[in-house]
Symmetry: C2
Subunit: 586 residues, 2 copies
Amino acid sequence: MPTLRIALSQVNPTVGDLVGNAHLVRAWTRRAADAGAQLVAFPEMMLTGYPVEDLVFRRSFVAASRAALSRLAEDLAADGLGELPVIVGYLDADGPPQVSGDAEPGRGARNAAALLHRGAVVATYFKHHLPNYGVFDEDRYFVPGDMLTVVRIGGVDVALTICEDLWQAGGPFAAAREAGVGLVVNINGSPYELNKDDIRLPLVRRRAAEAGATIAYVNMIGGQDELVFEGDSMIVSADGELLARAPQFAEHLLVHDLELPTAGESVGAGDRVADGLRVIRATVSGSLPAPAGPRAVDGTIEPVADEAEVWHALVLGLRDYVNKNRFPSVVLGLSGGIDSSVVGALAVDALGPERVVGVSLPSQHSSEHSREDAAELAKRTGLDYRIEPIQPMVDTFLANMSLSGVTVENLQARVRGVILMALSNQEGHLVLTTGNKSELAVGYSTLYGDSVGGFNPVKDVWKTLIWRLAKWRNADAVRRGETPPIPESSIGKPPSAELSPGQLDSDTLPDYDVLDPILIGYVDGDLGRDGLVEAGHDPAVVDKVLRMVDTAEYKRRQSAPGTKISMKAFGRDRRLPVTNRWREHG
Amino acid sequence: MPTLRIALSQVNPTVGDLVGNAHLVRAWTRRAADAGAQLVAFPEMMLTGYPVEDLVFRRSFVAASRAALSRLAEDLAADGLGELPVIVGYLDADGPPQVSGDAEPGRGARNAAALLHRGAVVATYFKHHLPNYGVFDEDRYFVPGDMLTVVRIGGVDVALTICEDLWQAGGPFAAAREAGVGLVVNINGSPYELNKDDIRLPLVRRRAAEAGATIAYVNMIGGQDELVFEGDSMIVSADGELLARAPQFAEHLLVHDLELPTAGESVGAGDRVADGLRVIRATVSGSLPAPAGPRAVDGTIEPVADEAEVWHALVLGLRDYVNKNRFPSVVLGLSGGIDSSVVGALAVDALGPERVVGVSLPSQHSSEHSREDAAELAKRTGLDYRIEPIQPMVDTFLANMSLSGVTVENLQARVRGVILMALSNQEGHLVLTTGNKSELAVGYSTLYGDSVGGFNPVKDVWKTLIWRLAKWRNADAVRRGETPPIPESSIGKPPSAELSPGQLDSDTLPDYDVLDPILIGYVDGDLGRDGLVEAGHDPAVVDKVLRMVDTAEYKRRQSAPGTKISMKAFGRDRRLPVTNRWREHG
């Protein structure tokens, strides 16, 4: 059996940065060569970043991606790396790119993989299964490929596949068995969801069995707008053994020696195999670089607690949003409450204390302990702490207009928003929003007030998970002999918006332990009223909560175009028509 | 040849309002019966409204749609209308509804049409061609149908089709020819775009030729969030003659007598025809109601000027957003400038002057003529006019913070936003936003300032079109012997934000006559820099404009989650990744 030393490059590309992404490929191919690798694979759409969304419709962008691929092949050869085969994702098109709004889609762009060798593109593969659910819109952007690309590398037949090809039965993995390949490389831009790693390994095992081949799965890491890519690259043998697995949320070069079957001749170029795929054959000519040094055996990573996984995802998503957009720093309001404390701690973990400005914005309703807790968080984390009292501005509005009730509560939050935006304009900080998902879902927040900001790291985090994250982060600090960042009283005290005297969340909302499971069913699970009652929730509470969510949607449509509804965990908005009249609560 | 009197019900359903929509069907079926109709057709997804977006994923909603359909059939019979066949769109599913985020779409929901007769569902059709471009996401929501449903009605074979089936060659229209049908009914939820009516008629003619049959095309009207449905229902004979055509943007019952061929026997139930469609056959039993009175011949509508078409679309979209959401009234800031003047006039046309509050929000930079122009608009239209000076609040912020430059300009706009939102909270008005599309594209506006509001009637209207609309509306008033609503000086004066002394738009932006064509190419047309230069634009101006658009995107990502980019005309946002690094300007 031939041995192939494979290197999976779990890296962090940036959308649109063709030059920077090509540099990443060259640098990591150098690392792989130094590790004696004989084949290197990079993630889906590595050259363009992922997802590129409507950039697909711009012909100039498609042309730039193709040109960058040719240039990369030449540069790798010029770097002295031309003998090492490199698999890389990019954007291609086999005709004029699809035109947005065109009534007859079907021409157009391809989600593509190329194998580069000796300065040239040796083989190409177009993604066959296109995902069009959840955060994915690939039916809108791409034409599905109808090929099975098999490349002979060092006497082994290797099939190229992309992401969703792995998530659906049939297609290239079934075809790979017919073609008798020894290895299927699957390159990914697979976004993080809670516990997705727990379903990914069994899935890769099923496909290994279907293909009768070893699977090398490589995923990107990094934050991209509302998505976080988690890595979790792995290699699974044909009989289902997990040979190596990379960590989540960190760059990693997974290098491993594989014993693979010698290629035979089963199907030829042009043959039709499973799902009607047409076989494309190519060969990496010459002999591969000999693997240097001892046998390469990468380790496997053990799963971590949910809180650790989520914390690292939030830190990475925030850091990449700030850095990929080139913001120098962030600013957020610190109330002493749990939400802004957790966001402050996340920001310091993501960016370091010197890039985080925390502003206490006290009013006449702010309690002494709130101000102390905000100051204590600042002291523990070392962030840049300031105090901007809002009462003079609030009083001027009240002196010039006749306002009462909730309007006065909202006014306070909006004056805070104006102050944070003024600091952003004056000093260049990105404003962070700190509202949790439970609050957003029931509308317990002020539009253009506490909703102000360019990025909300906890918008997908239910309130009960906010508390769990705070406790986990503090305990983790203790384990490492560090100061817990979040003041214990921020975690322990009853939540309050402090917009009127003695106000508590519990005056308005059910306990979060009761509220969150209902919201999770209604918002994330698309359960209706009857489904929630069947699941064991109190019908009166269900009706109250559904009414609050529907009313919150009404308030949003009153004054916030574009913000339709709270988010699915790390994913796409729930998209409901705003003039919707469907109500099922009592 | 049998004669069939058909009635096309061009009505205005509301998403989610199953009860109200069913009442509409009953009321308009009554009208059709009174007009002697023998067949009535209602638009696509009539019972649920369109588009229902993620409501499709809620099992309880699908079940409610099915139940509403059965109930409607029974109610029509109870109304004494059971003998009249009624075609109506609804939401169906042939298994458990699709689950959002499910990795294996393909089971699930159907965009369906039913023919109701004598209290029962006689035939069903599932939409075959699903649009997934522009504003459409139907691959996400629906499974395509694989049937050709042919119903024999009064000796004529009638095929049922839905919307996109008409926009693609092949499929049900080609199959209809094989089946030898005499009439194809096409029910629609087809959103308005500028001049779409000019391409619709030739398209219907092509399909009439393809099917060798008369086409009865019925479309809904009304505003639904960011979409406006325009009506423009029509009947075209097999040889391409336009027999009747309904107006745009108004409810209408189009009643027309059709001479149609007697049904023969070409293909039977279960046969496979074009595109692999399976033939479903049904018969409306008994004899149809005899047409009463003289021969029914509806008229054809002549096309109107672009400005008239756009004005009516904007009025309808605004009115339905306000009324379908049950807002009592709207409030907007009136600066005396052209944008807020046009929005004020649109609001009065949509809602009447008693439901429109206009607020002058003068600062120390507001010129005397601006205040006079705002007051003059109020006087001409009769809207509720108020004055809320912003200087005291601006001064308090400036006294308590160290702010300078553009930050002070933005502060003024944000104080205005806080005032408008306070009036909204206190009195229940929907806040209207007044920024035109050119401003939005180049970022010549203040986030959480003049961007505040729940609905912006002119967000898709380029600045040069704003002026054309104003002139058209005034001239139209003169033609009708009414007072032109918009002060001439608002139209004629050079545009200014009036946020600093002597400020003019032209200090910062190219002339709008130069700017708009470049923006249209870059934002709507997805042209790149080279494409714009090839189109004849000055390269230096192109570079400047592209840099402004890209910078505007940067500013938005700094502080407005969810608002990615300016809008396509009456449609979907341009979706660009916000951390995108792709730049092609010099």
